[in-house]
């Protein structure tokens, strides 16, 4: 090692002569990190249970799976309402079904603020009241009202239905709120949709949110980025892009190219964005999606902040809801919104 390291320091590029298009990494064991809470260790310990084979589902089978998710998610959100002391009220805004999530206490500074939330689930799952689970965590830890958008999804409603619904809610919300007081956020597909919504609002010359949170955003649907490979099978939530994720991307995109910026916002013009905070984890398959967006936002002249959580796979800050790291993540996001939203 020292020989190569000396070369790197001394000649800053001698090793580069040994270029290769790919490298072999040996099999190894990775311990559950002792550097995270016991609650988070429980989420990190299990191996990924998925498959890299394409699921090859019919439209009816996709809908049946989505229904399973929706039912399970609704049950989960029912439990979370009590645990996190929030109310969740179904409404329609701009013709779109939403869930209005209110914490038991709204912070004084947040009285005239609002957050709009777009959920994750690979654009195919987690509709219905399940949509609101992350909104519950944000409302509780941030002491702020959140509107969670239950956007339409494929197979019946592929792209751009989700984006149209996000835009419809946004346009309605800013009729009654100063857009500078309203934040937009989401995780995974919701992180990608957050970015896509702002790209579209810019195109429409519509008012932009005061600040954004894009959690481990699905910013590139084409399996492009380093950690799609380095964290493959290390991430125990997504596991691999091959199989479910790739199929979900294609189901969502329909006839559109996966590289269109409203599908893969890393390819969009990110100049003139609101201040944005991004979240990932050291094992996240989407760590590269996250850091590529962070750097592109900074290099496009924006203010952007990054949080990376020790040991976490994709979106575990919103999955391991009882881990203190989850509370820390949402409180840090809340502080970010507090620093950047108008009052």
């Amino acid at each position: 090692m020292k020989t190569c390291w000396i070369a790197l320091y001394v000649l800053a590029g001698t090793c580069a002569a040994q270029t290769a298009t790919e490298r072999s990494i040996p099999a190894r064991t990775i311990p559950t990190p002792a550097t995270v809470s016991p609650e988070l260790q429980k989420a990190i310990a299990p191996a990924w249970q998925g498959s890299t084979a394409a699921p090859k589902l019919t439209n009816e089978e996709w809908k049946a799976r989505a229904k399973q998710f929706e039912d399970g998610g609704t049950q989960m959100v029912e439990g979370m309402k009590k645990k996190f002391s929030v109310t969740v009220t179904e409404q329609k805004i701009g013709g779109v079904r939403v869930y209005d999530v209110k914490p038991d206490t709204i912070a004084e500074a947040n009285r005239r603020r609002l957050l709009v939330h777009v959920h994750g689930g690979a654009y195919v799952f987690s509709g219905g009241e399940a949509a609101a689970s992350e909104a519950v965590l944000m409302a509780h830890h941030g002491q702020i009202e959140v509107i969670s958008v239950d956007y339409r999804m494929p197979p019946d409603f592929p792209f751009p239905a989700a984006l149209d619904d996000s835009l419809a809610v946004w346009k309605e919300v800013v009729k009654s709120h100063d857009p500078k007081n309203v934040g937009l956020f989401g995780t995974s597909a919701g992180g990608g949709l957050t970015l896509a919504t702002v790209i579209k609002l810019k195109e429409l010359k519509a008012p932009l949110p005061g600040a954004l949170m894009a959690g481990t955003p699905w910013a590139d649907l084409t399996k492009t980025g380093d950690t799609y490979y380095t964290n493959e099978f290390v991430d125990n939530v997504l596991g691999s892009n091959d199989g479910f994720l790739d199929s979900a991307a294609r189901l969502y995109a329909g006839t559109h190219d996966l590289k269109e910026p409203l599908l893969s916002p890393i390819y969009g013009d990110l100049s003139g964005f609101p201040p944005t905070i991004l979240i990932s984890g050291t094992r996240d398959l989407f760590l590269s999606n996250t850091v590529r967006v962070h750097q592109k936002l900074l290099q496009s002249g924006n203010r952007a902040e990054l949080l990376v959580f020790e040991g976490e796979s994709h979106a575990q800050y919103e999955i391991a809801v009882d881990a203190p790291e989850s509370g820390a993540a949402f409180r840090e996001v809340a502080q970010f919104f507090d620093r950047n939203l108008g009052k």
Copy 2:
């Protein structure tokens, strides 16, 4: 995968029943990412050339290796002076040898500012003019004067000699500069030493720097942290903690416990720190060191920012000096110092 994912979402912990203390990750190939510049691809492509066997060197052999590094580094810095249009002048400050690095143009806002730099090299290498290589990049990209500390190193001068030298230079520098106008920074061992210096200054109730940069800091010398395992052999600069790094840590620590906060600052009291920016990469063996410090700083009530570069192994932003990503990193650090230092 979906089965487990549904369980994760629905029961938020069903998978946790399958707890294990470690997981097996299969062998695989990782491509050189197409998402970075061609210059950076050349640095990322080669496999790690090191060994996980302890080097077992005599003191004389350690010194001979250090001399090789110093000679090679001096040669490298000679070339960098011209390329990056800086002058490098050897001086003594507080009895310690330093290199005063001046760019051809100092930005107007930086006229009364100064940065103090402590170099990397695992506390055992990169002394002499080699110490100044990162300082050259910072001075050039930031248009600011930098004093690089050529601190004493083992085997002749183990801990706390490096810390004593860093403190001696700091105490002398703040006699002629408002400490709020002076930043402190370093990478790897230099990142750890940056943090340790501030912990010690707090203990001494001495004035603190106005802002810090701790690049991929060696914040934990005990191989504790997730990416010591998940990025083992993925990182092509450090490769593994086993072998050289572990031996260097023990040589530096001497009779001291590796967990002492002035050796492993993650275990220190990080409250009351100046604003701090941290840097890492998606393949960095020290990504966990970096994000653990970031979170601990935030949760101790400080302002702290994080940059993570796509595809980079340990410290490649200061190794691949010709990659545009290197310039981007140092410019982002310069902007951070500009936002946080007094004038």
